[in-house]
């Protein structure tokens, strides 16, 4: 059954190639069918592969091709089948399929429909390669591939320069992270001589021969790669800008799958990270800082997608907190639940934008629940799920992260709880401003308002269902014992990732759960109070007076900071070089070099004066000399 795994990335690739080369002239529905059908086939195979792992199959590697063999460096194109990769396969293909279906409706009127579906298929192909690769090198191929697809899809509406700028920004910032990843890979290779997971982490204990600062450096550089891809401070600025792409892209790439590649990579390297306490601490603090930063910025944003984007940044931060604290399986758990509800929220926001005719500012919305009932209900479910109100998916995963923090570090626990509270607040703010109150948009927009077509709402419903039940795969002990299903995911992942050391008793767990629920509910009440009851509206940008508020609206001025400390000096440096070093030093050298042959030429030019007699005379004299020396 494992052999089938190579089919999984094949279907999207074939879909991409077919649509690219033969898609011209086919109807849009057919193209959409091919695109989503390819993903669906992958999904079916994924389920089959997943089942083998579920029934206790051992992690195996399926080799497809020899790729690079150079001395001791031996890399195959090979796919790894183990619990971690199969569970990723499942939600990538599953959520991916739903988003493909949704795209058919969302992008139906776009002239670049074929291109869009092809790119999406291509993206899924690379994402699957990333997850399935049996070594860092193969993973890196997928890593770069998804980066490429992300670039192409952010800049999908390339006629608008703003989108291209956003795409370039995403690409460049990702490159910085990739450099870290490459350095990390190099350190690992030069120290151990291998980049294959099964050789590096064969025993499931510590990384074979990495020790001392090599270990820390390797882990930290790998984490820098993860920071780039998963938008952690200070490389997070590209993700909100990436919302320039079509909404399904935001849902698939910038919420559910690609941005969690960093989490996957760290989880995959869990042996490495658990052996390095320094790296783990770095991961934890970067994660919690990102979480707080994202959550606070999300409080003041007025663009529906920007709010969700900063929410994503914040949630990713929380996942890294879990990783840093050693709870790898819990991070993966949150990745899965987050994929469900964040994809749902993005698709919901897409539905709203669709209905509003492209409007994204929540200050122009309001009272949409009567126009878009399905969207409203599903969006509410997503909001509850992310806010961490039981028994929806977000509650279980987030609660466990907080629980882990509680056991390890009280400071982190407090901050994580704060993030949780802020999450509930800004999500309900978003919800109330969008769906309640009265409509604040123009008359035309109100007239235009309609519920989205079935092809868009059905994925919403499915994802809403998953958001409700998704948490059940990781019941905490307190609940789990009663249903004989505690920590299923942890046990499933045992073979691949390092398990956290947890000895919390049921009582503590229960108290924490209650505290978390209370916090979420209180935040929700505040939001209700402010935005539902008092209908307090977000201020227009120029009305803001509070400096704190202004800082948040301007995202802590991080972009401006980068502009000042990186772009400006580089510009000035190159201006300086162009003005002084180039004309004086470089040109001077070149002129010196050219002066030498010029001088020689000026000297020898006298010989080549065109007078044939001179030449003949020289020849005859040469002949004489030659003969004299010979006789």
């Amino acid at each position: 059954m494992e052999k089938l795994v190579s089919l999984i990335p094949l279907f999207p690739l074939v879909g991409f190639l077919y649509i690219t080369f033969f898609g011209k002239g086919l109807s849009k529905n057919l193209i959409g069918g091919i695109g989503s059908g390819a993903i669906f086939l992958s999904f079916i195979v994924s389920i089959a592969v997943f089942t083998t792992q579920l029934h206790g199959g051992n992690p195996t590697t399926v080799k497809v091709l020899d790729w690079i063999t150079a001395g001791t460096f031996d890399i195959d194109i090979a796919f790894i089948v183990d619990p971690l990769s199969t569970i990723y396969l499942l939600f990538i293909t599953g959520v991916g399929f739903l988003i493909h279906v949704y795209s058919i409706g969302y992008m139906h009127d776009d002239e670049g429909f074929n291109r869009f579906i092809a790119y999406l298929n291509f993206f899924v192909f690379f994402m699957l390669i990333l997850v399935l690769g049996d070594s860092y090198v193969t993973m890196f191929v997928g890593w770069e591939g998804v980066g490429l697809c992300s670039f192409m899809l952010i800049g999908f509406w390339y006629k608008d320069m703003k989108n291209n700028d956003a795409a370039k920004k995403a690409f460049i910032i990702n490159r910085i992270g990739d450099l870290g990843l490459i350095i990390g890979m190099c350190i690992i290779f030069f120290q151990t001589g291998s980049l294959k997971y099964d050789e590096l982490y064969i025993s499931g204990s510590e990384a074979s021969s990495l020790q001392g600062w090599h270990l820390h450096a390797a882990a930290i550089f790998l984490f820098i790669g993860a920071m780039g891809k998963s938008a952690q401070i200070p490389l997070h600025t590209w993700l909100p800008d990436a919302m320039a792409g079509p909404t399904p892209v935001s849902a698939l790439i910038h919420a559910a799958t690609m941005v969690t590649a960093g989490i996957y990579m760290v989880a995959r390297s869990s042996d490495l990270f658990s052996a390095s306490d320094i790296a783990s601490d770095v991961v934890t603090y970067v994660g919690i800082l990102t979480a707080i930063l994202g959550a606070t910025i999300a409080l003041t944003q007025n663009d529906i997608k920007k709010v969700l984007a900063y929410s994503t940044v914040s949630q990713l931060g929380l996942m890294f907190v879990a990783l840093g604290l050693g709870a790898y399986s819990i991070a993966v758990f949150h990745v899965i639940t987050h994929a469900f509800f964040k994809a749902l929220l993005f698709l919901g926001s897409g539905s709203v934008i669709h209905g509003m005719g492209g409007e994204q500012d929540i200050r122009r919305m309001g009272g949409l629940k009567k126009y878009m009932p399905t969207t409203h209900i599903t969006f509410l479910i997503g909001t509850i799920a992310i806010a961490g109100i039981p028994p929806l998916a977000g509650f279980f995963s987030k609660d466990q992260i907080i629980a882990v923090a509680f056991e390890n570090n009280i400071l982190i626990f407090v901050l994580a709880s704060l993030v949780s509270a802020l999450t509930a607040f800004y999500m309900f703010r978003l919800y109330y401003l969008t769906f309640h109150g009265k409509f604040r948009g123009t008359h035309d927009q109100e007239h235009h308002l309609h519920e989205s077509p079935k092809v868009m709402t059905i994925p919403l419903v499915v994802l809403a269902g998953l958001s409700i039940v998704g948490g059940f795969i990781g019941f905490p002990h307190a609940v789990g014992h009663s249903v004989h299903f505690p920590h299923w995911l942890d046990h499933f992942l045992e073979k691949t990732v390092v398990m956290p050391f947890m000895e919390a008793d049921v009582a503590t767990e229960s108290i924490l759960m209650i505290v978390a629920t209370v916090i979420a509910l209180v935040s929700t009440y505040f939001a209700y109070n402010m935005y539902k009851k008092n209908e307090e509206l977000a201020l227009e940008d120029d009305e803001i007076e509070s400096s704190t508020h202004l800082t948040l609206v301007n995202k802590y001025y991080i972009d401006e900071l980068y502009d000042k400390i990186i772009r400006k000096p580089v510009d000035q440096l190159s201006a300086f070089i162009g003005k002084f070093i180039e004309p004086n030093v470089v040109d001077g050298l070149v002129k010196q070099v050219s002066a030498i042959p010029q001088g020689i030429g000026a000297a020898t030019k006298l010989v080549q004066n065109g007078k044939m007699v001179m030449y003949i005379l020289a020849m005859i004299i040469g002949l004489i000399v030659l003969l004299i020396t010979l006789i």
Binding site: N609, G610, K611, M612, V613, I616, L617, I620
Partner: protein, 106 residues
């Protein structure tokens, strides 16, 4: 001992050849007209050919004569192209004097 004809040794032929060669060289040195210089070159080539044939006679081998044959071939080719160039030069410059024709490009 080194006779190749009755009472004529190889040295006689070499002397003759030297005389012709030197006359050719003088011609090239003193005349400025490209055509006559060209003819002097032909004369020098023939002086060399003469020694080759004489040595062929001395040694009784065909190689030197084949060599002469090839020299003739090359001379013919050279004259064909050289005279064409001279015609072009004359057409543009109205002279064949090498005193005037001392630039690569006009």
């Amino acid at each position: 001992m080194m006779e190749i004809l009755p009472n004529v040794t190889i040295n006689h032929y070499l002397m003759l050849s030297v005389a012709l060669f030197t006359i050719g060289a003088f011609g090239i040195l003193f005349r400025r007209n490209a055509i006559i210089m060209f003819m002097c070159v032909e004369l020098m080539l023939n002086a060399v050919n003469l020694t080759l044939v004489a040595f062929s006679k001395l040694w009784g081998g065909t190689d030197a004569q084949v060599f002469v044959f090839f020299i003739m071939v090359v001379a013919a080719a050279e004259v064909a192209v050289g005279l064409a160039i001279l015609m072009m030069l004359y057409r543009n410059m109205h002279t064949t004097s090498t005193d005037v024709l001392d630039k690569l490009k006009w």
